[in-house]
């Protein structure tokens, strides 16, 4: 049972090649884990509506994007700021991407967290190798 405290983190801007669309892009924090079924990814994208995310697996690169909603800011005037607001973007190289079933990638956005499952294709699932005694 964790009793540690959450610490504040500053958003990092995306480095490297630029996007076509103007405006700053930020790198979402992720947890990426793997089990026998495949990859499981969670990315923090607060302020993004569920229909404004995209997940692509293309040529060994997994790209996750989220467009932040401006609707919560209508009629408001800023007077103080501790965190930046912007769209989210992050890319990962997926080694041996042929092991994953591109057709069955699943993604959903819950409470500003993007959850992605990249399942392994049946043939690629790890097989326990019996160790013969002798």
């Amino acid at each position: 049972m964790t009793t540690q405290e959450l610490t504040p983190k500053e958003k990092q801007e995306v480095q490297g090649s630029e996007q076509l669309q103007a405006g700053r892009y930020y790198v979402p924090d992720v947890d990426i884990g793997e089990d026998a079924e495949g990859l499981w990814l969670r990315a923090d994208m607060p302020g993004v509506e569920p229909d404004k995310v995209s997940v692509e697996l293309d040529d060994g690169t997994l790209t996750i994007q989220g467009e932040v909603s401006l609707q919560p800011y209508e009629g408001l005037t800023a007077v103080y700021s501790e965190y930046r607001v912007g769209n989210f973007l992050r890319r990962f190289n997926l080694p041996q991407s042929y092991r994953y079933d591109h057709e069955r990638i699943a993604a959903k956005l819950v409470d500003g967290v993007l959850e992605v499952h990249v399942p392994k294709s049946e043939q690629a699932k790890p097989r326990r190798v019996p160790v013969n005694a002798g």
Binding site: T2, T3, Q4, E5, L6, T7, P8, E10, Q21, A22, G23, R24, D29, V30, D31, I32, G33, E34, D35, W40, R42, D44, M45, P46, G47, V48, E49, P50, E67, V68, S69, L70, P72, Y73, E74, G75, L76, T77, A78, V79, Y80, S81, E82, Y83, R84, V85, G86, N87, L109, D111, G112, V113
Partner: protein, 143 residues
């Protein structure tokens, strides 16, 4: 200046510019001196209210305790670790744990009628101004 635009790209850039102007500057009235406690806050005004906003991804409304009283606002809660068991992690950046932050509030706010919502990982607290504190239009009687 209201932050709304028909073009989402322009609207976002204007919002970013607005926030840039205030980033790193203290807000003495609320005792806010910088981003040193979770959750980080952005503060906005509306003609009728003060609006305090925090990013709380992965934290549901039920996991947040929000307390508002004259002169003070406290937001506390916990983010659960979550995720499946038996995962082997490549990256672990998101963190879990408890949080509790208190800020001062100006005295001209009607804290009894504060409201809050938590949607898509964004907590928004609206504290209306007291009726007497709002600018009143005064009729000028003709001579």
């Amino acid at each position: 200046m209201t932050l709304v635009s028909f073009d989402p790209v322009e609207g976002l850039m204007r919002l970013q510019g607005e926030l840039d102007r205030f980033f790193g500057k203290p807000l003495i009235d609320l005792g806010l001196t910088g981003p040193n406690v979770f959750p980080l806050l952005n503060v906005f005004t509306h003609p009728d209210a003060l609006v305090v906003r925090a990013e709380v991804p992965g934290i549901k409304a039920e996991q947040i305790r929000l307390q508002v009283e004259p002169g003070r606002l406290t937001v506390a809660g916990e983010r659960a670790g979550g995720g499946q068991a038996n995962l082997s992690y490549h990256r672990r950046e998101r963190g879990s744990g408890t949080f509790s932050r208190t800020i001062q509030l100006p005295r001209d706010l009607d804290t009894e009628h504060a409201t809050a919502d938590c949607r898509n990982g964004l907590l928004t607290v609206r504290i209306p101004r007291q009726a007497a504190a709002k600018p009143r239009h005064i009729e000028i009687r003709p001579a």
